[in-house]
């Protein structure tokens, strides 16, 4: 503010001082305002410079010392403000002009822009400058269909605005980005703009932005390339010829920008003339070693720098050895090569020789100054090899150089190796000598065949057989070589032959003392991922090797065995074979292998994988044993077991449902008893199971029938017990017969009769008189000592006589009764029915028995009746139906209705109504004595069964009621049984 007006104050005029000061301030302010208006310069010579690619507009103008300006940018056609901003702009020292840059969102070609500027000082502004116009491409003079920006490169995620200028006379349609229609805004009469946000990677040929007219027939477009700035890595420089530099790096990220838009590199500020490639690995060679390098990678989106530095001796990467040759022997070879650069000959090198044979690669390392050869030991004869070599610096090793070219050679032949042989012997001195075919390496040349020799040392016999190449087993018969004895042995020898000669022999001693070799317990071998794992105990001093042999356990004759040799001292081995099959049991045997004959040391059995049995148990039978059912079976054949049988499951099946009855965990089980089964039909299934599960099962049915034998036995047993009981009873009765007799059949006193009643052996013929019947009447109320004869009136006789049988009716003479005095019926007197208590023909109490002897007119029952009075004292006799006949036709006293009514009192209840008593009929005359017999039914009409007579004999006939005869007949069987028992008891009297 050098130009500010200088203010002076006159202190001498005090009275006007305040006024003067005030006026001075006002004048000063007015002066300042006037000055300001006069000095704020209007921007002059406004100049526009546009960078279309970067869409940047550079504006410069002259405005003196002013530093603050108002800028306005308008779209010319539509007079729309694009920018209105106050900016501070210093004068450029270089050009002496004010310069300000503005980057447009839209391409600058889209439409014309008008720019004007004015200076500002606080709130004071100058006049606006002249408006400068940046011409767009939408001028009427440019009629073409256009779109901007052209082929722009933008980073991923950028927002880009495109504008489309319609052809003059055409109407705008749409703008598409890829397959997406975009929303557009109008910038001018012909210009339309749209913005794509957050752009993703474009295709390698760029994403298309296409502008359509309203008919969509006319289009124009541009491509936009969306990618990344460069990102190189792993930058390193090295030397290969000990002189020049080779720098290497790679592109860690695909920029998605190719060829002309791809990344350009400079190394130490010198452009790298790299041939463009999409390969991310880059390599650039510089003629000398600079020791320090800077790599700069640049593309349209940015740049990236990397540096590296090193001594030359630390970065030696030798080139590949050249001109490889070889000198070959049977077991080794020498490889020779040349070095490309002379500098290598004085450089300590480490070289690697890679040897390849049958697909396997081995590396051998050699060192030396200027190394140019290497000896490869331990090669196989007659083997194809290929070799390649690479080298590096031995000191300050940096990296291996490139591999040389590969050369191939074949080693020379040698005699073959000894075959690996083994012998399988059957149990009859036959067998086979086997050997494994030699591998190509073991052959060590072109094989011609094998030779098998059997030699008996004791008998000096030898048998040799030449075997072609494709045979690896020869049958042998030891009895043809040597005499079978416990001391003899035969040595089997196998040699292999090739074009170079014969191998060392392989031999096995075979003892001629073959036995059934099962001396050892068989263990189970477990199969794992490594095969069958076998372990055994070994003597610490044992120096012999082992042979482990295995074969299918179901094979018994000339088996195809496999074997492996185990070195001495080992106590375990895992055997694996491609021939192992699931479900096959293998016998695995461990033999000692020495100069002596092999000796079986241990044996295993195992399955590679257990399966369920392929067939069920055999011969499943069901047998009924009383109410039990016995299931029996035979074991599954070994081939079908396919696993170790762990047991059996017994099922009872009904329809498709199985009920497990039992699980027999003993694999040796061969039967099972199902107990106490009721009658019926049953079906049983037996399933063997292994660790893999059950088999399908064998099924058998049975119909369980009634057990008749047991029923018979029970009946017989019952009868036997009954018979035994009877025997015991009989025996007791016999032993106690006196008591029984006394208790039940007391002796009947001899009747005391006048006259001679002596007995004679002759039959006693009695002819009773016609009208003198004697009745024996028992009258309880009478004194027993008293006897009375009751004369029966003839009327009664007549009446009773009507009921007598025809035999009697036909004769006029009294019936003669024959009595045998020898026949003494000592049977006890039976209790009678109460209704028969009237009769007193016999009595338990002989003292009270009155016997009346009467004439017996005809045959009839002669039954002793119990004295009801006598029995009533001790016990009430039971009514015995067997004796009912006696009641009807028995030996009874004459009926007196008054007496009967007295006897049938409460003390003697009669459960059966007594028809005789009711009828009160007369009596038939008794017939002669007859032995009771149950089979006399047919004679019932003429002879009634009767018990044996007591000691007394009726000398007269009984008059029995005629009507009771039939009743008596009906009751006769039971009566007969009783009679029989009585007779039995009586006959036991000594």
């Amino acid at each position: 503010m050098d130009t500010m007006p200088h203010l002076s104050v006159n202190r001498s005029s005090k009275p006007n001082c305040r006024t003067v000061w005030l006026i001075s301030v006002l004048v000063g302010l007015l002066a300042i305002h006037t000055y300001a208006n006069d000095v704020l310069p209007v921007p002059q010579q406004v100049s526009l410079s546009a960078n279309m690619d970067s869409q940047q507009l550079s504006i410069s103008w002259l405005a003196g010392a002013a530093t603050t300006f108002d800028l306005v940018i308008l779209r010319t056609e539509l007079d729309e403000t694009v920018l209105s901003e106050t900016v501070s702009v210093m004068v450029s020292q270089l050009s002496g002009r004010h310069e300000w840059n503005w980057t447009s969102v839209e391409p600058l070609e889209c439409t014309s822009l008008s720019i004007k500027i004015r200076s500002r000082e606080g709130q004071t502004t100058s006049e606006w400058s002249n408006t400068e116009i940046l011409q767009g491409s939408d001028l009427p003079s440019e009629e073409n269909f256009q779109i901007f920006p052209l082929d722009k490169v933008v980073p991923v995620g950028a927002n880009t605005t495109f504008c489309c200028i319609m052809k003059e006379g055409n109407q705008f349609g749409k703008i598409r980005y890829g397959n997406t229609d975009l929303i557009s805004t109008r910038l001018s009469r012909r210009s339309y703009a749209t913005t794509v946000f957050n752009q993703g990677l474009s295709s390698s040929s760029g994403s298309n932005v296409i502008c359509y007219d309203n008919t969509e027939q006319l289009i124009t477009g541009v491509a936009v390339f969306v990618g990344y700035p460069p990102l190189p890595g792993d930058f390193v420089c090295e030397t290969r010829d000990l002189t020049s530099t080779v720098c290497l790096w790679n592109e860690r990220r695909d920029t998605n920008l190719y060829k002309s838009r791809g990344t350009r590199y400079t190394l130490n500020n010198r452009p790298c003339a790299l041939e463009w490639s999409r390969n991310p690995q880059k390599e650039y060679r510089v003629a000398n070693w600079e020791g320090k390098w800077t790599l700069v990678a640049v593309n349209a989106l940015g740049q990236y720098s990397l540096t590296d530095s090193a001594k030359l001796s630390h970065r030696v990467n030798p080139v590949a050895p050249e001109h490889l040759t070889s000198v070959v022997h049977a077991l080794n070879a020498t490889v020779l090569w040349q070095l490309k650069y002379d500098g290598y000959y004085s450089l300590a090198l480490v070289c690697q020789v890679e040897l390849t044979s049958q697909g396997y690669k081995t590396k051998h390392t050699f060192t030396g100054v200027g190394l140019r050869s290497a000896v490869l030991p331990d090669l196989y004869p007659y083997e194809d090899y290929s070799v390649q070599v690479r080298c590096g610096a031995q000191q300050n090793f940096w990296k291996w150089g490139s591999w040389s070219e590969t050369i191939s050679f074949k080693t020379s032949s040698l005699v073959p190796e000894s075959p690996d042989m083994w012998v399988w012997m059957n149990k009859d001195y036959t067998g086979q000598v086997m050997w494994k075919p030699l591998t190509r390496r073991q052959s060590r040349g072109l094989m011609t065949g094998y030779e098998v020799t059997l030699w008996s040392p004791e008998e000096h016999l030898q048998h040799t057989e030449i075997v072609p190449l494709d045979i690896f087993a020869v049958p042998i018969n030891l009895t043809q070589i040597a005499t079978v004895s416990s001391d003899n042995m035969v040595m089997a020898t196998v040699t292999a032959k090739n074009t170079e000669g014969v191998s060392q022999p392989a031999s096995v001693l075979i003892p001629l003392r073959l036995t059934d070799v099962d001396p050892l317990a068989v263990s189970r071998a477990v199969y794992t991922d490594q095969g069958f794992s076998l372990f055994w105990q070994s003597d610490a001093n044992a120096t012999f090797a082992y042979v482990v042999e295995w074969c299918n356990a179901s094979c018994k004759w000339n088996c195809l065995v496999d074997w492996i040799n185990v070195a001495p001292g080992n106590t375990n081995v895992s055997i694996e074979s491609a021939n192992f099959q699931p479900g096959v049991r293998y016998n695995i045997s461990l033999y000692s292998s020495s100069s002596e004959a092999p000796e079986l040391l241990q044996r295993w059995q195992g399955y590679m994988q257990e399966l369920v049995p392929s067939s069920p148990v055999m011969s499943l039978l069901t047998t009924q044993q009383d109410s039990d059912i016995l299931l029996s079976w035979e074991q599954i054949p070994l081939v079908s077991r396919r696993g170790f049988v762990l047991g059996y499951n017994i099922y009872m099946s009904s329809g498709s449902q199985f009920t497990l009855l039992a699980n027999l965990s003993d694999p040796g089980s061969r039967s099972y008893k199902v107990k106490s089964m009721p009658e019926g039909s049953y079906k049983f299934t037996v399933k063997a199971y292994t660790s893999a599960g059950e088999d399908t099962g064998a099924t058998a049915s049975i119909m369980l029938e009634p057990f008749t034998d047991r029923l018979i036995l029970e009946i017989l047993a019952s009868l036997g017990v009954t018979a035994l009981f009877l025997v015991i009873v009989t025996f007791i009765c016999y032993k106690k017969r006196q008591w029984v007799k006394k208790a039940f059949y007391p002796d009947i006193p001899e009747p005391k009769l006048p006259g001679d009643w002596s007995r004679s052996q002759a039959p006693l013929d009695v002819k009773p008189p016609h009208h003198s019947l004697v009745h024996m009447v028992e009258r309880p109320e009478w004194d027993s000592s008293k006897e009375a004869l009751v004369v029966i009136p003839e009327e009664d006789e007549d009446e009773d006589g009507q009921g007598i049988g025809e035999a009697l009716a036909d004769t006029d003479e009294p019936t003669s009764l024959r009595y045998y005095n020898q026949v003494v019926d000592e049977r006890p007197i039976r209790p009678r029915y109460p209704d028969s208590s009237d009769s007193s023909a016999s009595s338990l109490d002989s003292a009270r028995t009155d016997v009346t002897y009467t004439g017996i007119q005809t045959s009839g029952s002669f039954v002793f009746q119990l004295d009801s009075h006598g029995s009533s004292e001790g016990h009430q006799p039971q009514a015995d139906p067997s004796f009912c006949a006696g009641g009807g036709g028995g030996y009874r006293p004459q009926m007196q209705s008054r007496v009967v009514s007295d006897d049938t009192g409460p003390a003697s209840p009669n459960p059966y109504p007594d028809p005789e008593a009711a009828s009160g009929g007369g009596y038939k005359p008794q017939s002669s004595w007859q032995m009771d017999s149950p089979v006399e039914d047919g004679e019932g009409g003429s002879r009634a069964p009767s018990l044996g007579s007591p000691t007394s004999i009726a000398s007269t006939q009984f008059l029995l009621p005629d009507g009771e005869e039939h009743t008596e007949e009906k009751r006769q069987p039971s009566s007969s049984a009783a009679t029989w028992l009585t007779n039995l008891l009586s006959s036991t009297k000594p």
Binding site: D151, S204, S205, N208, T220, G221, V222, G262
Partner: protein, 198 residues
Amino acid sequence: MADQEQQEHEEQSPALDSPVPGPTETGRAVSIARLLHYECGLLMQLYKEKESFLSSFSPGGGRMVSPSPVSLEEASGEQRVERLHAALRQCLGLLHCVLLKEEEEWGEQEEDYETLKKNVRVRLEHLLLCTRGLLEGPDTALEVTPDHQGTEEPDGARGVFGLKVWTYRVLLELHHWADYAAETLHIFHTERGGTADL
């Protein structure tokens, strides 16, 4: 991959399955022309898949290849083949331009597209040799090189998009002239006594 697909397409093409009727040069030329037509169709299809906007785009601008006009009604067989040969030479020139400009712009592109492009070029060169063989006589010395050096600028739109449209036009032109070649050579073949049912 591209070779496999091409082989499959060849197997599916009935024209290619049919045996060449005799060793005549005309018959062989017809077969090559048909094969070229088939491969041009494939190439065009592949390009349309690459640049999807082309599926709904029909470029105008008429024929890019314009051999000397000959009245087809009055022209002899040899003249028609000669005209065809000239058109094919221009096609080869355009194809060379496409190969050159695409290489400049993007370098090597997708493998199947690049392979098919090169196959078409080789087939077209082969067909040119065949047509020359059909016409060559004591008085003729036909060129089989491209008719121009690939300096032709794509017309119409500028920049990469313009190149894409122009490339498509070239492919359409190739397809058209390959079809024309197959037809013309078949007529010529029958005129020379070959079987009509090739």
